[in-house]
């Protein structure tokens, strides 16, 4: 195991090689690119598992350090990669507990996606190799992100993923929606990225370093000074805006639904499992900043996350497109994770990031299987009864469904339980006077749990149960080939059981140590949460009730209530329905407040530049010719009339000036320079 652990960088190098190799030999490989891609990713997966095993066997090292820092088990450094003035910047890769588990998550999802895509893309797909090259480059970005030992390398990986996201959303760029979606995604996240960069500049200005261990030593000292602490808090807030953009939190969530224009397997890895979780990872990894600065930053984080989870879940209840339901669900679940970090549930947030990666990529791939079977129809209202036609897809979808809604026993149940618990016990000193405000994230999260169960039940019912609504599509539907169903099964296993490594509740009854392995594994020194077992039971009870209630309401509305009755109810609540159906008009607001305003401003500036700034330049030029003309006129009509001799000289000067403005400029220059020299010398002599 030590060999694999020592050479953990190979996991990063394999997809990099795959990406370059596929890009270079695209024409020779064509359809065979999937063998290169998934083959190398399979090796990377096994390697990551070996690394994880190595880290697990490493005892305390991966999580034993002070100041919200986990100490790397292995660390590779490119010393003095570049000097920024007198500061030497080292770039390093490292592996600790969090990195090790994320490496397995990334490589597993990437492997599953690459096997699956082979069956997903049709035989005449033009950009097959491009897709594989981009997916592998993306994996490099995500692996680089989790291995980076400093903020700079993290930012670089972060942006590489942004590029790949752009490329994959625009995969079918002949169509309008992908072209729109890819630009929207890149620009919206770019807004957050500027915040992240500003945060990094601020951190560097205060601490003169960017590595995790360097920050963990300097920041606790610097925050002793209230002035510096305030600046660092602002820096942390700006870093968080990066997370808001990348993890699609309100108000920068608008890009993620339009990212669904890309091929579904791409959405599964980038816009569900990994890249969008990068914001969560960023906050978790830089907790030595967030945890040390004044509290208002983490309070903001908690409220942004809690609000986003509720907000997005409410939108998801009325989406018609199966991928859009999942997209809003992803935003909502990311909000959960962000909230968990904000309330100090560091381990809970990361735990949910891991389980969510499994079950959400599973749901996306299952949805992709439905869509492929259904002639690329994505509308839920044309589906129905598909469980008979697509038994394997249905079974795996159900695993993902149960995990997402937090059905007892499935992975999401445990991770959601943990983060609700963290929210429940949250009581920051700043909110001591307003206990109800401190409980608000928990309440929002609980309502979200209900809504999640509701909208997933709705989607599941519409897709797989009831009578087929479009007989023709139904007749042609068929189960996907094995290359697609095997990855589904592969992902369904961790989606079902990965929560068991953190089963606080069963642990209480059985005292089986392995059940708490993940908790210990993802423990961060400095964060302890203390809730009694009775409270734990209470929270679990509330969460499970909310989930069951959601299932029941969903089942009732779609299986029992007649469509006509549903329509009548919608009519009754028309204003609310319209508001939610139109996603609270956030897109429309941006269209007016940001896009049109920017376009108008840019047109104005372009006009201003031509008419005013350049107009002034041209005016000066014209003025020059006027002066030349005027002096020529003066010369002819005034001076010439007086003294012929003077007029001759003057004419020469005048016409020389006139020439100036038409381009014969050398003389002008010499004359002018000489005159100025003379003036200066005279000035010196006389003064």
């Amino acid at each position: 195991m030590d060999f694999f652990l020592n050479n953990f960088w190979v996991v990063l190098a394999l997809p990099l090689f795959a990406s370059a190799f596929i890009a270079m030999f695209a024409r020779q490989l064509r359809r065979k690119a999937w063998i290169v891609g998934s083959g190398l990713m399979g090796v990377a997966l096994l390697w990551s598992l070996a690394v994880l095993a190595g880290v697990t066997g490493n005892g305390e090292a991966g999580h034993a350090a002070a100041n919200y820092l986990t100490e790397p088990v292995r660390h590779l450094v490119w010393k003095n990669w570049a000097s920024w003035g007198p500061y030497q910047i080292d770039l390093g890769l490292m592996v600790d507990n969090l990195t090790a588990i994320m490496m397995v998550v990334v490589t597993l999802v990437s492997f599953a996606v690459q096997v699956y895509s082979q069956g997903y893309f049709e035989a005449n797909e033009k950009r097959f190799t491009r897709f594989y090259s981009a997916i592998n480059l993306f994996s490099v970005g995500m692996l680089g992100l989790v291995m980076a030992d400093n903020l700079f390398l993290l930012l670089v990986s972060w942006e590489i993923m942004g590029l790949c996201s752009y490329l994959l959303i625009g995969h079918w760029y002949e169509q309008e929606w992908p072209r729109y979606g890819q630009i929207k995604a890149f620009l919206t996240t770019r807004v957050g990225d500027i915040g992240l960069m500003l945060g990094i500049w601020m951190i560097f200005a205060e601490t003169r370093q960017l590595t995790w261990d360097g920050l963990a030593t300097t920041i606790p000292q610097l925050v002793q000074n209230p002035g510096t602490a305030a600046v660092l808090a602002l820096a942390a807030f700006f870093i968080f805006t990066g997370a808001i953009g990348k993890s699609a939190q309100f108000p920068l969530h608008v890009w993620l639904p339009d990212a669904m224009a890309g091929p579904t397997p791409g959405s599964a890895i980038i816009h569900a499992a990994t890249m969008v979780a990068a914001g969560v990872y960023l906050v978790a990894r830089s907790f030595m900043i967030f945890g040390n600065v004044p509290e208002w930053v983490l309070i903001t984080v908690a409220f942004v996350g809690a609000f986003t989870s509720l907000f997005a879940a409410s939108i998801a209840t009325l989406r018609h497109d199966i991928k859009e339901v999942l997209a809003y669900s992803t935003i909502s679940q990311l909000g959960y994770m962000i909230m968990a970090l904000g309330v100090g549930g560091w381990a809970a947030g990361n735990f949910h990031m891991v389980t969510h990666a499994f079950f959400k990529s599973l749901l996306f791939l299952a949805a992709g299987s439905v869509i492929a079977a259904h002639h690329h129809n994505q509308l839920l209202h044309k589906m129905g009864g598909l469980r008979k036609k697509l038994p394997i897809t249905f079974a795996t979808w159900m695993v993902g469904y149960l995990a997402l809604i937090g059905f007892p026993g499935f992975s999401g149940f445990f991770s959601k339980d943990e983060l609700l618990l963290a929210a429940y016990g949250w009581m920051p000193a700043a909110l001591a006077g307003m206990p109800w405000l401190a409980k608000l994230p928990f309440v929002m999260a609980l309502i979200t749990a209900f809504l999640t169960a509701y909208y997933m039940t709705r989607a599941t019912y519409l897709a797989f149960f009831g009578e087929p609504r479009d007989m023709e599509l139904y007749e042609h539907a068929h189960e996907s080939p094995k290359v697609m169903t095997i990855p589904l099964i592969l992902l369904a296993i961790p989606a079902a059981i990965s929560g068991w490594f953190w089963a606080a509740l069963p642990y209480h009854f059985t005292h089986a140590e392995w059940m708490k392995s993940m908790e210990r594994f993802l423990h961060l020194p400095g964060i302890e949460h203390s809730v009694t077992f009775a409270q734990e039971l209470q929270v679990t009870g509330m969460a499970t009730t909310a989930a069951f209630l959601g299932i029941f309401v969903g089942w009732l509305l779609y299986a029992k209530v007649k469509p006509a009755t549903r329509a009548a109810w919608i009519e009754a609540g028309k204003p609310l329905y319209t508001l939610v159906r139109n996603k609270y008009y956030v897109d429309e607001f941006y269209e007016v407040a940001v896009i049109r305003t920017t376009q108008a401003a840019s047109r104005f500036i372009a006009w201003f530049d031509g008419a005013v700034v350049d107009g002034l330049v041209n005016f000066v030029g014209t003025l020059g010719t006027w002066i030349a003309d005027a002096s020529a006129w003066f010369d002819r009509n005034v001076v010439d009339a007086l003294v012929v001799m003077w007029a001759d000289i003057s004419r020469a000067v005048g016409s020389a000036f006139r020439r100036l403005a038409t381009g014969y400029i050398q003389q002008y220059m010499v004359t002018f320079a000489a005159a100025v020299v003379a003036c200066v010398i005279l000035f010196q002599v006389f003064s």
């Binding site: 003035g85 590029l163 500027i194 500003l198 330049v617 030029g621 320079a673 200066v680």
Partner: protein, 510 residues
């Protein structure tokens, strides 16, 4: 023999070739092309041993060339103390190599593209090279000024004769504007010469004397006289309007040189002349320079977004990118040296990165123009399905230009702003807005030109040629190399950056 006069060889080899070519009949086009190619390639070859021996080369300690390498000195005009003094430091040498790299590429890009009056064109190109290289190696102000003016004339003719429909307007505007700037600059320099009474035009010795002058009306005047001369060249907001016109009318290879190297004459002159000579004034007016820089970043990006002409967009993006350098220079003039060095190194790296990226971008625009005969963004479209390789190259360079990590542009901008933030605080967010706008128009332009369904009228266009690959490849390789590993450039710059930021800081009392 060669190493003692290496810089002279680099500067004047093209002149020798130009003189030889004047005696070759203009019908002998093949010979002329070969001569021009060799004449521009030789300086690049000559510069290689200098780069290889950079760290082992002796650093001069003479007052007239302190901190310089590869120095040469001959008395020229005794009466006013003018010497033929050559020497390079990090600022100068990086630009010299960049210039030596871009000229052969520009000649290659002209081959097959320029068909009329080939001889005149090539001779002018060679003379232009003498001018730019001369500026970067001169240590005497008068010599510097001569080369500075030599640059103007060939450029005027290159735009005025081989340019587009409005070429004469653009050429005269370029000429008058930059000439006015350089005359103002000359006034400033002569004033300083007279005021200090140093009896020499050596720039380093002048700086020693002038940096001790009090800040008064006349030194302030002298500073702005110098600065405006350079600001026009950079071009710094609001002196930039000649640039879009010049670019739109200039033929592609001339645009490559204009953006790639001619603008850097201004940025180089700032770090060589205006700021070392009058750091005390620079410090006082740093906020003004910062305002101009940060305005340029966001203003030019916004202006670019509204353009309908592909090439004009790229021209505006030059203004925007040079704004980063101006900002960083302003920051370096108020910061303590540790942080000032970061700003200065980053800002100067921006100019180098821009010197690699913008020629490639203009070349990409040229490739489309040569095939479709339009630069109208509304007419182009669907190019990825028509000419995939060219489109890939364009997308590559567009991402480099918008500052994607892994490419040189990002490194420069990021380091520059790392150094600028401590000086100007949250005002750098304005530059951040500019970065978003830059990304926005790049993506919109890519959507317009590259993506979307293929257009019928462009069906059957030829994809990239070997010549085009040969021009693009070295630039692309360097963009990625310095984006992944900027240390070689930063290390060569380090000494000069340190010296200048200390000069700026000592005067300010830090």
């Amino acid at each position: 023999m060669f190493m003692e006069h290496a810089l002279t060889w680099i500067v004047f080899t093209p002149l020798v070739f130009a003189l030889v070519m004047m005696f070759i009949p203009k019908t002998q086009e093949k010979v002329l092309w070969w001569l021009a190619g060799i004449g521009t390639l030789l300086p690049l070859l000559f510069s290689l041993p200098l780069a290889a021996g950079w760290y082992s080369a002796p650093v001069s300690t003479e007052p007239w060339a302190e901190g310089m390498r590869y120095v040469e000195r001959v008395l020229w005009i005794k009466e006013i103390g003018v010497h033929y003094t050559l020497g390079v430091d990090g600022f100068a040498f990086t630009m010299l190599v960049l210039s030596c790299l871009l000229f052969p590429l520009a000649i290659l890009a002209s081959y097959g593209y320029i068909k009329e009056r080939v001889k005149d064109y090539l001779v002018l190109m060679l003379i232009l090279m003498v001018g730019t290289n001369g500026v970067f190696v001169s240590l005497d102000f008068m010599l510097f000024y001569v080369f500075w003016e030599i640059v103007l004339l060939p450029m005027y003719f290159l735009i005025g004769i081989w340019g587009g429909p409005r070429r004469s307007y653009a050429a005269i505007k370029f000429f008058l504007y930059t000439l006015l700037g350089s005359v103002v600059m000359l006034v400033g320099a002569i004033y300083l010469y007279v005021r200090t009474g140093v009896q020499t035009f050596n720039m380093l010795q002048m700086a020693d004397a002038t940096s001790g002058l009090p800040v008064d009306g006349l030194t302030t005047f002298a500073f702005f006289a110098l600065l405006i001369g350079f600001a026009v060249k950079v071009p710094m907001f609001p002196f930039h309007t000649w640039l879009p016109d010049a670019h739109v009318e200039a033929p592609t290879p001339v645009s490559m040189l204009l953006a790639g190297i001619l603008l850097k004459l201004g940025s180089y002159a700032m770090v060589r002349i205006s700021h070392p000579m009058l750091p005390q004034v620079a410090r006082n007016y740093a906020w003004l320079l910062f305002a101009a820089g940060v305005t340029a970043v966001v203003y030019a990006a916004a202006a670019a977004m509204a353009q309908k002409d592909f090439k004009k967009q790229v021209a505006y993006s030059s203004v925007s990118h040079m704004g980063f350098f101006v900002m960083a220079l302003a920051a370096a003039s108020v910061l303590e040296p540790e942080l000032g060095q970061i700003a200065l190194a980053g800002g100067y790296f921006v100019t180098i990165a821009h010197g690699l990226i913008s020629p490639a971008f203009f070349f990409a625009v040229g490739m489309f123009y040569e095939r479709t005969h339009t630069r109208d963004l509304d007419k182009l479209g669907g190019m990825f399905l028509t000419v995939p390789v060219i489109s890939f190259m364009t997308a590559f360079i567009a991402f480099a230009n918008l500052g994607l990590p892994g490419m040189a542009g990002f490194i420069g901008e990021f380091i520059a702003l790392t150094g600028t933030y401590p000086a100007f605080g949250l005002w750098v967010l304005i530059a951040g807005v500019g970065m978003v706008l830059t990304a926005a128009w790049h993506l919109l332009t890519m959507r317009n030109v590259l993506l979307g369904p293929a257009k019928k009228e462009y069906a059957g266009l030829a994809d990239v040629t070997w010549k085009e690959k040969l021009i693009f490849a070295p630039l692309a390789v360097l963009i990625v190399l310095f984006g992944v590993w900027p240390a070689p450039v930063l290390n060569i710059l380090a000494q000069s950056v340190e010296t200048l930021s200390q000069v700026l800081a000592i005067v300010g009392g830090n």
